[in-house]
């Protein structure tokens, strides 16, 4: 018997309409755990770098995490992976909600799609019964509406559905996959789903998920629940309210948006509005939010209530579910002072299925180009004068790829280059061609410099870690903080933190030193790679300060659930393997050192020499060469000899190991459009 996992994947060939249930190799679980880890293994093996994202050979994988469907609180992530049309690199996005556990109960760890369906279809999985069904009648339909319709026509109110909207069907490069209150949004995963002619996946499962050491597992689960209660009563002192608790940032419950609105940039990642949060705004926004939020809701098996039902009939949008930060992204992108606008456009955007981070930034970018005269009334006929109306106007164009929407649908990087005429200078907030949250700060933070520059998620909002981002003012406070810091991996990290000062010798940018920085980054990254392999919500583990899951208890969870031997060192090694394999996938697709940088103005004060040293130290620490490509020796040590051999054969690694080899193509070629 397999424990925690089911031991089966579904292979769906959309071109031929073929469905196969395939037993998986337990060795892959031992090497990569599951979720992102095994997704990466499949993508390495089956999607060579020649494969265009919009080609039938690209795979779209919906994966459960190794522990999804077990009673571990908050272990509910669906890890969706494919090759991104926007970055041309591996894209993966973790979706909360209810889908992954349902898939486990249906008897599968992953659903792997290949090919392209001749017409629009959806997949219906009901335990052993799996069907590809016609979706012609769902064409152009909103994501939530699609889910409702599918449940109705199947007569299965308990089916869990994830769907794309019009944006996905039209292959907008930042189309999302929406699942009730959650979504897999980043990297254009929804565009690949649309390219494959797949409108939705619906799942209902009624089988058991087994646990190897039941009593022990139950005990561990209860400890986590207890710690969650403890943290509810003990918020972290000395940080803004939004960072004091656990879970995803509690945007739906908290009204006080002073921190976001005054420290993040507005418009096209351009303006700071330090005086924005007045008493009057605070009052208005509280009133709006209270009117809009009908109920706070959770993901599967989690008490944290990070999401909400938004019901605001006066706005003319139907009810929808929201979580986290999309309530502000459109507001701030449009320089709107009015939160109602945010609730209204976010609902519409969700029905179309676009990423709530990228979409508003692309729109703000277009507005700036218009104001600078680079785009004119010729390209934007009938463009409204009012900024909020402009956003609605742009949204409609983008999701239909009509007029200027055709270009903007590719995101700021590609659009800027197609528009030309100086537009490139306005692509000012992307990393590796992908839009980032608009944060503009003063002094370089070495830890975040490395995490932003090198992170494979290519997403600076989702890689935050358990170490506070800035030191506490006094040594006493820092000493107090580390007293019950059970999550820290070792004493060294605690020491780094205690000695870290706001000013003086032990402060940014030279403290933490590059060596310390590497260790801090390694730890924070490791936590994310663990979550994304086992299916834990980052909000209870890698993301917040002092979470209930950490490097010391997760190995015990894995051991008790699966029966595998597991300890911290082993887990650390597996995540290093997964991290390195993903690195190799991207290196094979052209990723090099020159791509590893934050947006130019992310920090006002930059230190080129220090930054070069940080990258050098980090690559060395990881066992990568100076181009950031894993060396053959490193790969061999991690049991990835076959990866090393492939990189050699392709001339990406040369003999003599450390030497950087053949230049990568300067830019990945623009996508082929085949429709």
């Amino acid at each position: 018997m397999r424990y925690a996992e089911t031991g089966f994947n579904l292979e769906i060939d959309l071109t031929r309409g073929n469905i196969e249930k395939v037993a998986t190799d337990p060795k892959d679980t031992a090497m990569h755990l599951g979720g992102l880890g095994t997704n990466a293994k499949i993508l390495w093996d089956r999607v060579p770098p020649e494969v265009d994202p919009f080609s039938p050979e690209n795979l779209l994988i919906f994966s459960t995490g190794l522990l999804c469907g077990t009673p571990a609180t908050g272990c509910n992530r669906t890890i969706v992976a494919t090759i991104s049309p926007q970055t041309q690199l591996l894209a993966y996005s973790m979706m909360g909600g209810f889908l992954a556990p349902e898939l486990k109960y249906a008897g599968y760890d992953k659903v792997i799609f290949r090919g392209k369906s001749p017409g629009l279809v959806y997949l219906w999985i009901h335990d052993d019964k799996v069907e590809i069904r016609d979706a012609a009648h769902l064409q152009g339909m909103g994501t939530l509406e699609t889910a409702e319709r599918i449940r109705e026509e199947l007569g299965e109110p308990k089916a869990q559905v994830a769907a794309i909207g019009l944006a996905g069907e039209k292959r907008v490069y930042y189309a999302s996959i929406e699942h009730g209150r959650s979504s897999a949004s980043r990297g254009g995963i929804g565009a690949v789903m649309g390219d494959k002619g797949l409108k939705a996946i619906a799942v209902r499962g009624t089988k058991d998920v087994n646990i190897a050491s039941p009593e022990r597992y139950f005990e561990l689960c209860n400890e986590v629940l207890k710690y969650i209660q403890h943290r509810a009563e003990n918020p972290i002192k000395g940080v803004p309210p939004i960072l004091a608790g656990i879970g995803s940032p509690q945007e739906m419950a908290i009204h006080d948006e002073k921190w976001h609105t005054t420290s993040f940039a507005w418009g096209n990642a351009r303006h700071r509005r330090k005086d924005f949060w007045t008493k009057e705004i605070a009052r208005q926004w509280r009133e709006t939010q209270e009117k809009a939020v009908e109920r706070l809701i959770s993901c599967y098996n989690c008490p944290m209530k990070c999401g909400a039902i938004i019901s605001y009939p006066a706005l003319g949008v139907s009810k929808y579910m929201m979580k986290c930060y999309s309530k502000l992204t459109y507001v701030m992108g449009a320089m709107a002072d009015d939160l109602e606008f945010g609730f209204k456009i976010a609902g519409l955007a969700q029905e179309y299925g676009v990423d709530g981070y990228t979409a508003p930034q692309v729109m703000a970018f277009a507005v700036e180009l218009y104001e600078a005269g680079i785009l004119t009334d010729k390209e934007l006929p009938g463009f409204p004068a009012d900024n909020q109306e402009r956003f609605f106007w742009l949204l409609e164009k983008i999701v239909r790829r009509e007029g200027i929407g055709e270009v903007l649908a590719k995101g700021t990087y590609w659009a800027a280059r197609e528009i030309g005429n100086g537009a490139e200078a306005y692509d000012r907030n992307t990393i590796k061609k992908h839009e980032q949250i608009p944060i503009k700060l003063g002094m370089l933070n070495p830890v975040y410099f490395l995490m932003y520059s090198t992170g494979a998620k290519i997403n600076i909002t989702q890689i935050e870690g358990q170490m506070p981002q800035v030191p506490f003012a006094t040594r006493e406070e820092r000493e107090e903080f580390v007293k019950d810091w059970i999550q820290a991996p070792n004493e060294k990290i605690k020491e780094f933190f205690v000695n870290w000062e706001l000013r003086g010798e032990n402060s940014f940018p030279y403290y933490p030193t590059p060596e310390m920085t590497c260790e801090i980054v390694e730890w924070q990254e490791t936590m994310h790679y663990i979550d994304d392999a086992v299916g834990l919500c980052a909000g209870l583990s890698s993301f917040p300060i002092k979470p209930p899951y950490h490097i010391h208890n997760i190995p015990q969870f894995i051991a008790a659930a699966t029966g595998m031997e597991m300890d911290e060192d082993k887990l650390w090694e597996i995540t290093r393997r997964n991290r390195t394999l993903i690195r190799a996938i991207n290196a094979r697709r052209g990723l090099r050192r020159k791509d590893e940088k934050p947006p130019q103005d992310h920090w006002k004060k930059r230190f080129p020499e220090l930054e070069a040293k940080l990258l050098d130290s980090y690559y060395r620490f990881k066992g990568w060469n100076e181009e950031g490509i894993p060396t053959r020796e490193t790969l061999a040590k991690l049991g990835l000899d076959y990866v090393g051999a492939d990189l050699m054969e392709r001339g990406i690694l040369a003999d003599g190991e450390d030497a950087a080899s053949a230049e990568a193509p300067a830019e990945a070629p623009a996508q082929k459009e085949t429709n």
Binding site: P71, T206, N210
Partner: protein
């Protein structure tokens, strides 16, 4: 004898639907607790509590599995909530021949909440950190004949099953299940 009164502990779970967030932790832990051996598996489809969950209509209703009924109700009413029509059965506690709710997914045997026999506090209550489920105990005097013995309870259940599936099929199923163990 019929006049004699006996003390009985009435266990109740107070449900505050306004606090429910739809997480289904109660379903997870109920099914894990009743697995054989305990906690060795979980499967919400085997849970003795289920959360009727219609987020877009603000319906979050935990319902506990009640008694088995032999036959489906003769007349059924309809509810309309927030514009959607529901069959009366949607909110019913009974394990009833007319639907799949509160039955083991493989054998079809009925499920009933047993208040987590042997535990200090029902597990669904303990795992509901949202406090939508609150456990209460109170003592009540009841006529003795009202207190069903476990044996009577079992017989009643089996009788109802026999009516639905036929005694032969029940015997076969029990035989198969004990072999699987």
């Amino acid at each position: 004898m019929t006049d004699e009164k006996k003390k009985k502990i009435i266990k109740t779970i107070r449900i505050d639907v306004d606090k429910c967030n739809g997480c289904r932790a109660c379903e997870v832990i109920c099914s894990a607790f009743h697995a054989e051996p305990k906690y060795s598996s979980n499967n919400p489809a085997r849970s003795r509590i289920r959360v009727i969950h219609e987020p877009l209509r603000d319906i979050y209703i935990p319902v506990y599995a009640g008694e088995y009924t032999v036959a489906e109700c003769a007349g059924r009413d309809k509810y309309t909530i927030d514009g959607k029509e529901y069959d009366e059965c949607a909110f019913c506690r009974a394990s009833c021949p007319s639907r799949v709710e509160f039955k083991e997914p493989d054998s079809g045997l009925p499920l009933k909440c047993d208040m987590c026999e042997g535990e200090e506090e029902p597990l669904c209550v303990r795992w509901c950190l949202a406090d939508a489920l609150i456990y209460e105990e109170r003592e009540e005097e009841v006529a003795e004949e009202d207190v069903l013995t476990e044996q009577e309870d079992l017989e009643l259940g089996l009788e109802s099953l026999a009516k639905k599936y036929g005694l032969k099929q029940i015997i076969d199923t029990v035989a198969r299940m004990s072999k699987e163990d």
